[in-house]
């Protein structure tokens, strides 16, 4: 077993709840994170993801439930292990760098209680600063650094103690787009190199898909779905998951019948007589009125003369460098957004809109209860 694999720890959360006065921020959340997994908790503001992370960190005390880290109960019954004894590290949203300590001292902070000699600590500090690319800033103070540099210091500090679990609290949310992308790659690379288990929270689905081995989608204090990024994208458990992970459009449809296992034929509201095949998440009855969720990646645009597809008209087009994103009106007030094409279709131009079965889901949108898996 490699050094890094030995270091990673598993995390088990069982029936975790947290109340803030009358408000229930977490409601019976259970998650198992295997050692070495990069778990991303995805959810909108107020979904409970920060509360869950702070509960794991030991910053907040959950109202009930248990948390185990590396097989040791840290929260449960009357047990509450304080954060400093949980052997974990954390990157904060506001970086939480100590303004009175320079970069080197900020990074070296977690090493103060280690058994390393002074020379070893210094060497590790140098190594980390080198790895995150800020060795030339080691004597500077936090307020002399840019946002990206500050976040690199926070990342180096989290890696310094070589702990088995690293928590990330929306670490990229205060950065501009270029720096976000750059730092996202560094976080993914360095965390995996360190071999630690990671729990990362964000409200940005593209960030979640790019980083995660597993994604947990939270809403209103409940864990709605926990799965791989691929399954979250292709088989969203609920309408909320489908919406939150990005859709091009959503329409009411009438189920004509099942075509095969997990597939059904549905009629579209804006194109009478035209039916498409869509994926189903559960068994559905013919004749049911449900909703169709369409991923942008499952829609292609074609010339009006194309045989397949429904008629549409381009409302807007945006240049995206490698191609164009379109907004397409498909009739009866319905539209599809972010439809990519390498060819530019002009505003007002008529097109044919083609749907891919794998990226279209039929679901009962009223069913938002916690899914099982």
């Amino acid at each position: 077993m490699s050094e890094t694999a030995r270091r990673a720890v598993g995390v088990s959360v069982r029936d975790l709840a947290k109340d803030f006065g009358e408000k229930r921020a977490l409601d019976g959340v259970s998650i198992d994170v295997e050692p070495g997994t990069f778990l991303v908790l995805l959810g909108p503001s107020g979904s409970g993801k920060t509360t869950l992370l702070r509960g794991v960190a030991g910053i907040d005390r959950p109202s009930s439930g248990t948390i185990s880290i590396g097989g040791n109960v840290v929260v449960g019954g009357k047990t509450f292990v304080p954060p400093e004894r949980r052997r974990l590290a954390m990157v904060f949203q506001d970086y939480a760098l100590w303004p009175h300590l320079n970069v080197r001292k900020n990074v070296a902070y977690p090493l103060a209680t280690s058994s390393l000699t002074k020379e070893d600590r210094s060497r590790r500090c140098d190594d980390l600063l080198e790895r995150v690319g800020i060795s030339h800033l080691s004597e500077r103070f936090p307020n002399e650094l840019s946002g990206g540099e500050q976040q690199r210091v926070a990342l180096a500090r989290a890696l310094a103690a070589e702990v088995g679990l690293i928590l990330f609290d929306e670490p990229l949310s205060n950065l501009d787009a270029d720096r976000r992308e750059q730092l996202r790659i560094e976080i993914a690379t360095l965390t995996r190199e360190a071999g630690a288990t990671a729990i990362y929270i964000t409200h940005d689905q593209s960030e979640a898909f790019a980083l995660a081995d597993q994604i947990g989608v939270l809403n209103q204090g409940q864990l709605i779905q926990l799965d791989t990024p691929e399954n979250i994208y292709r088989q969203p458990a609920t309408a909320f998951v489908a919406r939150f992970t990005g859709i091009a459009g959503e329409f009411p449809v009438h189920v004509l019948g099942e075509t095969s296992k997990r597939r059904a034929e549905v009629s579209l509201p804006f194109s009478s007589g035209y039916a498409i095949e869509a994926s189903t998440m559960e068994k559905i009855a013919p004749g049911a009125d449900l909703r169709l969720f369409v991923r942008a990646a499952g829609v292609t645009l074609a010339e009006p003369s194309h045989d397949e597809g429904v008629c549409g008209s381009i409302r807007d087009v945006a240049f995206k460098g490698h191609g164009y994103d379109h907004v397409v009106d498909v009739g009866d007030g319905y539209s599809l957004t972010k439809i990519y094409s390498s060819t530019k279709f002009e505003r007002g131009q008529n097109v044919k809109v083609c749907f891919d079965t794998k990226s279209c889901f039929v679901m009962d949108s009223s069913r938002e209860a916690k899914a099982t898996w």
Binding site: S12, R54, A57, G58, I59, R61, S68, G71, N72, V73, V74, G76, K78, T79, F80, V81, P82, P83, E84, R85, R86, L88, A89, M90, F92, Q93, D94, Y95, A96, L97, W98, P99, H100, L101, N102, K105, Y109, P110, A112, T113, F141, P142, N143, G147, Q150, R157, A158, A161, L167
Partner: protein
């Protein structure tokens, strides 16, 4: 999977939520018992005498308005009226001057910025009776100014009246307004000014645009200056008394000093003093509560300074220097020269002679019989104990004040502290005399009447509310994530506080301690009322010399006390500079200024 339990039974393990809550509530109960004995009981029991003297056997009536009418009658009423209008003028004047100073010092390249900040701290620490003494020594006939060849006869009469009182009290209120407005300005990013300038506003109009943004700070400054002026005793006891301009605090002192003591009238005056400052303080508190102070973190950026051209810079520097000369330079100059001129205030046919005789007399008295050595040592001991005790209590209260915002306990603490800030020292002193002399207390609980511990407790009680509010700003500016980060990265509760919060607050703690220390050394109202027999603090001893035909020696004592205070500040700051890491000194000064 076998699940082990980490350190649940070791003594070091943290308490369960229930145990922690119990400990928290027990701590809260103890804290409130302390505050009850320190402030609520003495002040409350004293105030009730205003309308119900029989409660504590001070008169036959269970309820009467006789003393209310008496307090508003000609002589006492004049004192209340004078205090109200003087305080209003002083508050407005000091906020206007302080706002201009704060803007020049923090937002422009005006010369001597560091010096002015230090001077403002000195002004904050200087008691009003010392200022009065300095002005008096300078302006009096055959005084310090005349010794330097400056004729001040024309202004002497004017100074010993409302004008002099307003000048001294405005000088004293200036630092309060300055530090509050400075904190507001420092939280105000340059983007607001930039936006105004970009959209066509000139320097004056952009300032007009920006100032309303710091309206809460201005309002707060007005309220605090009004409260400070209303509760001042030093000027009322010296300048007010000598110029026959009665003020409320002296009226109160007079009511309990006369024989027989009239506690009921004193209580009504005390109530008026407290009630008069509650509305502005509550108003500013309501406005301030809507603002967030959590701005001090690793990401804090300082606002940009406006670069003045050479001419305007010279004018601005001269103006700032002028303000400090009037507020600080004149009193110090007057006192220092006054202490060195032989027979100050007496015409001498042989001209002016300078002498060090009065300094020699301080420690070898020929008239009073008591040297300043013992009183000054006692004042330093009091300062040490009171500043340390106040610091500990204030930090506990400040943390309580910012923890759980909006909670019941936070609101009660907030209201209590607001109310306590409004209690003048003289009211507290009289309250202590009354409450701790009650038979029930002295026979059954604790006998502290006429003892040094009672004086210490009263001084702590006097300093705690202000010190807590002084600390609350900087404490609330520290992002909670800094402490959380330390805990998550392996630091225990104490180490996390010691390595993250303490460095960020170190300057505030130091300045807070120095402020209480120096204020205690020079404190007059409570000391005058509560000093134990034959244990006079320095301020009381000096007043005794000044009033008993040894004014020159009294002035020399004042100067020596002032320099001793400055020496302590200098030593403390030097030690801080020598022993603290560089990072500690880089942060927190903005916190101090709130």
């Amino acid at each position: 999977m076998a699940i082990a339990v980490l350190e649940t039974t070791t003594p070091a393990a943290p308490p369960s939520t229930t145990r922690s809550k119990k400990r928290g509530s027990l701590g809260g109960v103890i804290l409130w018992i302390v505050l009850f004995l320190l402030i609520i009981a003495p002040v409350g029991s004293f105030l009730i005498l205003g309308v119900s003297p029989r409660v504590f056997q001070q008169g036959p009536q269970w309820f009467t308005l006789t003393y209310v009418r008496q307090a508003f009658s000609s002589y006492f009423g004049q004192g209340i009226f004078n205090s109200l209008w003087v305080s209003t003028i002083v508050a407005i004047l000091s906020v206007c001057v302080a706002t201009a100073l704060a803007w020049l010092i923090h937002r422009t390249n005006v010369g001597g910025r560091r010096l002015w900040t230090v001077a403002m701290w000195l002004l904050l620490m200087m008691p009003t009776w010392m200022m009065t003494l300095g002005w008096g020594d300078l302006l009096q006939p055959f005084g310090a100014a005349q010794a330097l060849g400056v004729n001040t006869h024309w202004i002497y009469g004017e100074f010993f009246g409302p004008m002099g009182i307003v000048i001294v009290l405005t000088s004293a209120a200036l630092p309060f307004a300055y530090f509050i407005v400075s904190a507001g300005l420092q939280g105000l990013g340059p983007e607001f000014e930039d936006a105004a300038r970009i959209h066509g506003a000139g320097p004056i109009r952009s300032l007009q645009t920006v100032l309303p943004i710091i309206a809460p700070a201005l309002l707060s400054a007005l309220a605090i200056c009004f409260a400070e002026t209303m509760s001042d005793f030093g000027v009322a006891f010296t300048l007010g008394y000598h110029s026959h301009f009665p003020m409320a605090t002296y009226m109160l002192f007079n009511a309990i000093s006369s024989f027989p003591a009239n506690f009921s009238v004193a209580a009504v005056i005390a109530a008026v003093l407290i009630i008069s400052v509650i509305p502005p303080i509550v108003l500013q508190s309501r406005v301030m509560r809507k603002r967030s102070y959590a701005v001090l973190s690793g990401r804090t950026r300082a606002p940009r300074r406006r670069e003045l051209a050479r001419g305007p810079r010279a004018v601005a520097t001269t103006a700032v220097a002028g303000v400090f000369f009037v507020a600080l330079g004149v009193p110090i100059l007057g006192a220092v020269i006054g202490s060195l001129v032989k027979n100050l205030g007496i015409e001498s046919p042989n001209g002016v002679h300078f002498t060090l005789t009065y300094y020699a007399q301080i420690f070898k008295p020929s008239i009073q019989g008591d040297s300043l050595g013992a009183p000054l040592l006692l004042s330093n001991q009091l300062g040490l104990v009171v500043a340390t005790g106040t610091g500990v209590l204030a930090i506990i209260l400040a943390r309580r004040l910012i923890a759980n915002p909006g909670s019941w306990s936070q609101r009660v603490t907030d209201v209590f502290l607001l109310g306590s800030v409004a209690v003048p020292g003289v009211v507290l002193g009289v309250g202590y005399i009354f409450f701790y002399n009650l038979g029930f207390i002295s026979h059954n609980v604790v006998s502290l009447y006429k003892t040094l511990p009672l004086l210490m407790l009263a001084l702590v009680a006097n300093a705690v509310p202000g010190q807590t509010r002084f600390m609350a700003g900087p404490v609330s500016q520290i992002q909670p994530s800094l402490g959380d980060a330390a805990r998550v990265h392996g630091a225990g509760r104490m180490r996390a506080w010691r390595t993250t919060n303490l460095p960020l607050m170190s300057r505030v703690l130091l300045w807070g301690w120095l402020l209480t220390f120096t204020k205690t050394i020079a404190e007059l109202a409570i000391s005058q009322i509560l000093y134990p027999p034959s244990q006079e603090p320095a301020s009381v001893s000096i007043q005794s010399y000044l009033a008993n035909f040894a004014p020159n020696t009294g002035t020399a004592m004042t100067v020596l006390t002032l320099f001793e205070m400055l020496a302590v500040i200098g030593i403390a700051l030097s030690v801080y500079r020598l022993v603290t890491p560089r990072g500690w000194r880089r942060v927190g000064f903005s916190g101090v200024q709130s």
